[in-house]
Each structure stands twice: as C-alpha cells, then as structure tokens.
Amino acid sequence: MKKLINDPLDIVRESLEGMAAAHPDLIKVNLDPAFIYRADAPVTGKVAIISGGGSGHEPLHTGYVGKGMLDAACPGEIFTSPTPDQMLGATHKVDGGAGILYIVKNYSGDVMNFEMAMELARSEDIRILSILIDDDVAVKNSLYTQGRRGVGTTLLAEKICGAAAEQGYSLKDISHLCRRVNINGRSMGMALTSCTTPAKGTPTFEIGEQEIEMGIGIHGEPGQKRMTLKSVDEITEMMALSIIEDLSYRRTVREWDEDKSEWQEVELINPPFQKGDRLLALVNSMGGTPLAELYIVYRKLAEICQKQGLQIVRNLIGPYVTSLDMQGCSITLLKLDDEMIRLWDAPVNTLSLRWGL
C-alpha cells in the first residue's frame, strides 16, 4: 500500500489539522473529540444541522460544513462511525437555540452512536431530532438486513436542509423536509476496484482484471454481485434502471416523537418515480475514477432518463461521496419539487460545495 500519509493511525487527525490550517475563515476544528464546525457557530436562532460518519468518504461530511449546509460534521476513524462524545461536543458548539437536526446514514454503527449522543443531549434538555438516510437500492429488503445504506442522498439532504435552516425553517419543518428528500432519493453504486484502508494496508476485497462489483456501498465492503466488466453504457443502464424501477421500498424506522418524548416506529414508503418527474442527478466518483469518465456516465444517464420521460433539471458530477481510492461510481436520482429546487439553488459556501457566495 502506498499512500500520502505518515502513521495510518494519525490520518484523520492530521487531515483535520490540514483543514484547520487551510480554511480558518470558513471552519473551525476541534481535535478531541473530533469535529469540524462553522467558523461563525453558533448561529443564534437558526436550527443547527449536524452530520457525521466514518472518515474515508471525503468530502462527505467535513467538506460540507459552512453557510447554507452543515453546522458541524463529526468524522470517525476511517470507515468507523464516530463516537457519541464527538456528536455531543459538536452539539454544544453549534446549538443556536432553535434545535438540532442529526442527519444519520443508516449503518448500525452510525445509528447506535448517534442515538447514544441524542440520549446524552436530551438529558441536558437540548432539542434534537434525527433523520436516517437509507437510499441505496442495492440493498433490496429491510427485513433480512440492516435496511438500506445511506449513500449519495445524504449530501443532497445536507444541502437542502442546510439551505432551509439558513432561511429560518423550524426544526420540525426541516426534519420533515429531510425525510421527504430521503424517501425521494435513490442511489446505486459500483466498483471497478476495491479500496485499501490504510490500517489494513491491502485491498478490502480481491477483484479480477475483468470483473466489476455491482451494488457496492461506500465502505469498500463487497457489493451485491460480481460480474464481468462491461461498457460504461451498459453499466450506467444497469444502475439507472435499478434506481428507476425500484418501486415502493417500505421499512420502519425509529424516529423521536417530541410530543410523547419517546422513540416511535414509523413506516416510510418511497414513492416511485413517474413520467414527468423532475430529478436531480448526482453522478459520483468513488474516489479514483477520473472526472472525464463520470461525464460519459452522465451522457448515458441523461439519455436513459429522457427515454423514460424523466427530466434531469439539476445535476452534480464529481467526487462527492467517496470510498478512499476506490475506482467506480454511483448514481443518485432525487425527485425534486419546487421547494427543493429553490433550496438546492440557494447559496452555499463550504469547502467542497459552493455557489452564490
């Protein structure tokens, strides 16, 4: 394994130190417990939005802290959920008095650590809601699994909810909006190569020179199925169709009921895409795939959507949710409504997503 690192155990800290040195105008970094927060936090009267998860997916989440997006991000060790004290520390730092939303990717580790953080914060009377992102259609059912993983839709939810918070939405409204983004977003990923976690030092899985892994998550874990290498047009078609033809995913999730002050099991159903729907398309690199290849994916994706009567009205193409050095890509399609479009277009100024500012 060759990487631009010193000790594998210092990567997360040293990388945070680099961010702190590079962008003092935008963000501040707390090293122990580790979290990044807006330089101007807390923003009084604004709902604060916090996310986090294992490191190795940069720019998710640390690159999305700033005006119009996240108030704080909690990076765990590489591919390891952050610990409750990180979320609690971030919560204290960005609490502007209008409540806090945790945006949590649906992995058992993330869910449990964020839940523990919420329990701790609530015992201090801090108002917190959380929304799970579970958009990965490669995971077919939720009965026999942990449920779908949270992938590309996460960053879309962070952007849209961040804009809503900036515009003065209430905590309750933002949490509903976040849930709406989640159930309208679907993703599918694939890998040409595995990634190499620095601590292990060898690729997480072996894969042949003529093989690809479809339905991969973002942790270098093996995917849904192994197949022989195909052209990008075929790969794009397989991914796009698994998303578009994914009908009504149904699962129960735990959400906090503020009135009853307890966890509730809530059933959520994804509405299917329909002809005429307006979409945001995210074509995402897993890290090692060149930008030019992503545009070839987009080319085919646009053609498929058009054929299906779906209109891509916004897009984002690049390395946004990565798995270290993995080569491969993912597609996320999010069904938009007017409100989401307006919030998507709102100004944002973070290290890795910026417009209008």
Partner: protein, 196 residues
C-alpha cells in the same frame, strides 16, 4: 489478546464488512489498558463503568456502542462489589447481554456478537446451577463461546454491515462474534485472577 488478534479480526471484517473491526477493538482496549491503573482502586462496578465509557468514546463503529452497552449494563449489577461470586458473574453476563440486545436489536442467529454472548451466558448459567465453581463455569462459558463463534460461519447475517451481502456472508465467521469470544476469555481471566 486483542492486540495479537487485531489483524485476524480485521481480515474477518474485510471478508464481510469494512475491514476495521480489529483496529476498532485494539484502539478501544488499548485505551482501557492505559486507564485501568487509574481506576484500580474502585469497585468492580466502577471499573466496568469506566471501561464502558472509554469504549464508547474510543471504539466507534457498531462495536463501540455495543461493547460500551455490555460493560455499562454489566457494571450496573455489580456496583459496590470488590469480588464476584458465581451468582454475581451470571447477573453481570446477563445484564451485559441485555445491554447489547437493547442497543443493537439483534436476535439469535443474526450472525452478531449476540450469537456468542447468549450461549456463553447459558453455559455459565447451566454450570452454576449444576454446582460448578467459578473457574469451571467460566471454562464452560468460554468453550461454549468458542463453539458459538465457529457456528456463526454457517449463519446468514441479518444485522450490521454483513447483512448487505445476503447469502455471500455464509461461510465467514463473524468478526464481532469472534472479538466477543476473545473478550470473554480475557475478561474471565482478569476477573478470576485480578492480580495477573
């Protein structure tokens, strides 16, 4: 023991997870080892609670909250004790298991830590009921844990990261179940001969 098996656990996790379990456990338990001297004057409940807090804030991942919950609940039933008899140990293990299930909602057969913790409690309980002493009961619990750990190979994962693999998780031993076996083994060692 965890340190020696760090790579082994990580390799198990690479096969059906994300290749970090060994590192997570090693990071957490190294911190615990560092901290133990500072809390050695406390009762067993206090020590276990301190261990819990350290694990919660340093392991992360799925295993952090789960191990943390095991120790937290375990600590709550032995608070104030300086020594544990067979009964205490049984309660401790039962409480720990409850903690893990309460946090992770896994059922028996889901190919998780629970599949080791549960049979270990059972074996310990049976041994105590049949009049075995602490060391014998522990031995049986560890033996049961070892067998149960191996049995996770033939299970299909329904919780955690490995569940995404569907039937491709078959044939692989669960990393969390494996670390539980190591943990039980060394915990028993520590608790039974605290001066080692």
């Amino acid at each position: 023991m965890l340190e020696q098996n760090k790579d082994y656990l990580t390799d198990l996790d690479a096969a059906i997870g994300d290749a970090d379990h060994g590192l997570n456990m090693d990071r957490g338990f190294k911190k615990v080892m560092k901290q133990l001297p500072q809390v050695s004057d406390q009762d067993i409940g206090g020590i276990l609670k301190a261990v819990s807090m350290t694990l919660i804030s340093s392991v992360g991942g799925a295993s952090g909250p789960l191990y943390g919950s095991w120790f937290l609940r375990a600590s709550s039933v032995v608070s104030g004790k300086q020594e544990l008899d067979e009964e205490d140990m049984l309660h401790l293990m039962e409480a720990g298991l409850d903690g893990v299930i309460g946090r992770g909602k896994a059922q028996l057969g889901d190919k998780t830590m629970v599949d080791v913790l549960n049979p270990a409690v059972d074996a310990f309980g049976r041994a105590v009921v049949s009049g075995k002493d602490m060391l014998e009961a522990m031995e049986q619990a560890v033996n049961a844990a070892e067998q149960a750990m191996k049995d996770t190979k033939s299970m299909q994962a329904k919780k955690g990261r490995a569940s995404y693999l569907g039937d491709r998780s078959l044939g692989h031993q669960d990393p969390g179940a494996t670390s539980c076996y190591f943990m039980l083994k060394s915990l028993f060692k520590t608790l039974s001969c605290p001066d080692d």
